[in-house]
């Protein structure tokens, strides 16, 4: 008791608060540092030529267009598979699933999917899509691999958004004669849209920045042209950054920082978009 009411307990509190504050700041300053550093170092590499040209001279000169386009293709490809499947799964969990063993198993599976190391997804994609289904090292195989990796993010954020829609909305809609599916489509999905969108963008952001899952499923070291079918391999920004910073000797640092900057801007734009959508939706929400 005496210890709890010791005279210096406010001093202890002040020191403790200062310490924790410092720790929190130490956690976030590196993030700002990393972003600022890359912006500073990479900014001078950015030119129209860099963004729209092909690499040449063993990638030591020229632009990174094929990598930018490749990452766009992979992101869109991932969205094609993971968005409908993820949202449907979220609808199932939030609107249809009963609280039983199976549903618990689904949730456990989702948590596990989220925890599987990205390089293991790469192995799986290689085993199933590239070799077993014979898609080859291709945009298709890489997109499918990334989709499964993204799925848990999309499912769980979408489910959260769907669950946030008040139950009374559903009751009223049904009582007005709408069917269950009409209620979900016109009322629940519409209300939950901003939340779902946030989850989708955050999921795709992760897919866009990943390297390990595409290493052996779709990434090309160097392509002198743009891929022209889903069965082509493709260059991609994260893999390209990896290649030019570890595999190419005498690589100009300028181009490395420039590539890192483009990748960072790509990812940060998605992140920012998601944050803005979420906060605007929260501000506008009437329920």
């Amino acid at each position: 008791m005496t210890k709890i009411f010791s005279r210096n307990r406010y001093l202890v509190q002040r020191v403790g608060f200062a310490l924790i504050t410092l720790m929190a700041l130490a956690t976030v300053t590196p993030i700002i540092g990393v972003i600022a550093f890359i912006l500073l170092k990479g900014g001078s590499a950015i030119s129209w030529q860099f963004l729209s040209g092909f690499p040449f001279d063993g990638m030591r000169a020229g632009g990174i267009l094929p990598a930018i386009v490749g990452t766009l293709y992979l992101t869109v490809g991932t969205a094609v598979f993971s968005v409908p499947l993820g949202i449907a799964a979220a609808i199932y969990l939030s609107e249809y699933a009963k609280d039983n063993q199976w549903t618990r198993l689904i949730r456990l599976a989702i948590i596990n999917l989220a925890g599987i190391p990205s390089v293991v997804y790469g192995l799986f994609g290689l085993g199933l899509f590239v070799l077993f289904l014979k898609f080859g090292t291709s945009i298709l195989a890489a997109s499918l691999t990334l989709s499964i990796m993204t799925l848990p993010v999309i499912i769980s954020t979408a489910e959260e958004a769907l669950r946030a829609v008040p139950q009374s909305f559903r009751t009223v809609s049904i009582s007005l004669g709408a069917t269950r599916w009409e209620t979900i489509r016109r009322i629940v999905l519409k209300e939950a849209l901003p939340g779902i969108l946030t989850g989708v963008i955050l999921g795709l952001e992760r897919a866009a920045g990943e390297t390990a899952p595409i290493l052996f499923t779709g990434a090309a070291f160097f392509l002198p042209r743009l891929p022209n079918s889903p069965f082509d391999a493709t260059m991609a920004l994260p893999y390209h950054l990896f290649v030019i910073s570890t595999q190419v000797p005498e690589m100009p640092v300028q181009i490395q920082y420039g590539t890192a900057l483009v990748l960072l801007v790509f990812v940060l734009t998605m992140n920012l978009t998601a944050t803005v959508i979420r906060s605007r939706a929260r501000a506008k929400r009437q329920w």
């Binding site: 509190q13 590196p30 949730r107 596990n112 925890g115 192995l123 799986f124």
Partner: protein
């Protein structure tokens, strides 16, 4: 028209249900393909050779012990960094920070979670490891320590968001009760709130560990990739090679169906089983099961 509607009412729920169950199918498929490609290892490489200390695939030495210890030491280092900072940041955000500060910090932490690991690895190679080399007077900066530092950063967002969620879920009445009894806010945090959120904080740590052990690109770029047995704390200052980095670095060059190929899948299987165990333990800790899942993922 009427028939059309009832058809839709029948078909769509079935499709939606199938999508829901797809998560189970995917986990099973991943497990199946890892087993299919990884299990032949056990008949091709002797048990003793597999758990030996020499990894030199070109001469058919497939000892995975150095890779295991490499992964473990880096994960240990990352945990030692991520746990205090992650829990500290979570306590600050949830218990101490003013509202405006919270609004700034939370998206920033989320941003850290979204940084591509290859960008961190790149900076680790160009900035962090040269700095460590000079600072600690080492022959190379590409060490387990560099990997641990970066990996700690990568695991922090997971720890912060899960732990913060756990703290948030402690009823306000607990804190009010402690204050009313004369405890300071600091005492309340340590003796009431944190103990009440203990299981959630534990989950946060587990998931942070899981995140760290599975990270690939960053560790591949900054740890030097030397398959040396890491047995003492001194190993932090020398290069190591992790399981993930080995798969990523070597899979591109092996012939499909070769022994080396099977061993790499076997390592993948090991990682899969580790992450399964970590996640099952973490999710069996009873703490707002659903909410937590969402937190990990976003």
């Amino acid at each position: 028209m009427k028939q059309n509607i009832s058809f839709r009412e029948f078909l769509i729920p079935r499709l939606i249900q199938a999508s829901g169950y797809s998560a189970i199918v995917f986990v099973a498929l991943i497990f199946f393909f890892l087993l299919r490609e990884g299990l032949p290892t056990l008949s091709e490489v002797e048990w003793g050779a597999l758990f030996s200390a020499r990894w030199y695939p070109i001469e058919e030495y497939f000892g995975i012990l150095p890779l295991l210890t490499g992964s473990l030491i880096i994960t240990l280092g990352a945990t030692l960094i991520a746990v205090p900072f992650g829990i500290g940041a979570a306590v600050y955000i949830s218990e101490i920070a003013p509202r405006w500060m919270r609004e700034i910090l939370k998206p920033l932490v989320e941003l850290l979670g979204g940084l591509p690991s290859v960008v961190l690895g790149f900076l680790g190679m160009l900035v962090l490891s040269p700095y460590l080399r000079v600072l600690l007077n080492l022959p190379t900066g590409l060490t387990a320590l560099a990997g641990s530092l970066l990996l700690g950063g990568i695991a922090v967002p997971t720890v912060v968001s899960v732990a913060e969620d756990a703290l948030d879920s402690v009823p306000r009445a607990y804190r009010e009760g402690a204050w009313a009894l004369g405890a300071t806010r600091w005492q309340t945090i340590w003796r009431v709130t944190l103990p009440a959120a203990k299981s959630g904080a534990l989950t946060a740590v587990m998931l942070g560990v899981g995140r760290a052990i599975g990270e690939t690109m960053t560790v591949m770029m900054v740890t030097g990739n030397a398959p040396v047995l890491a047995t003492s704390p001194g190993s932090f200052f020398s290069p190591v090679r992790t399981m993930t980095a080995t798969i990523a670095a070597e899979m591109g060059e092996v012939a499909n169906g070769s022994v080396h190929y099977h061993v790499l899948f076997f390592i993948g299987l090991t990682l899969f089983v580790i992450s399964l165990i970590v996640n099952i333990i973490a999710s069996s800790v009873v703490f707002r099961a659903k909410k937590r899942a969402e937190r990990i993922l976003s």
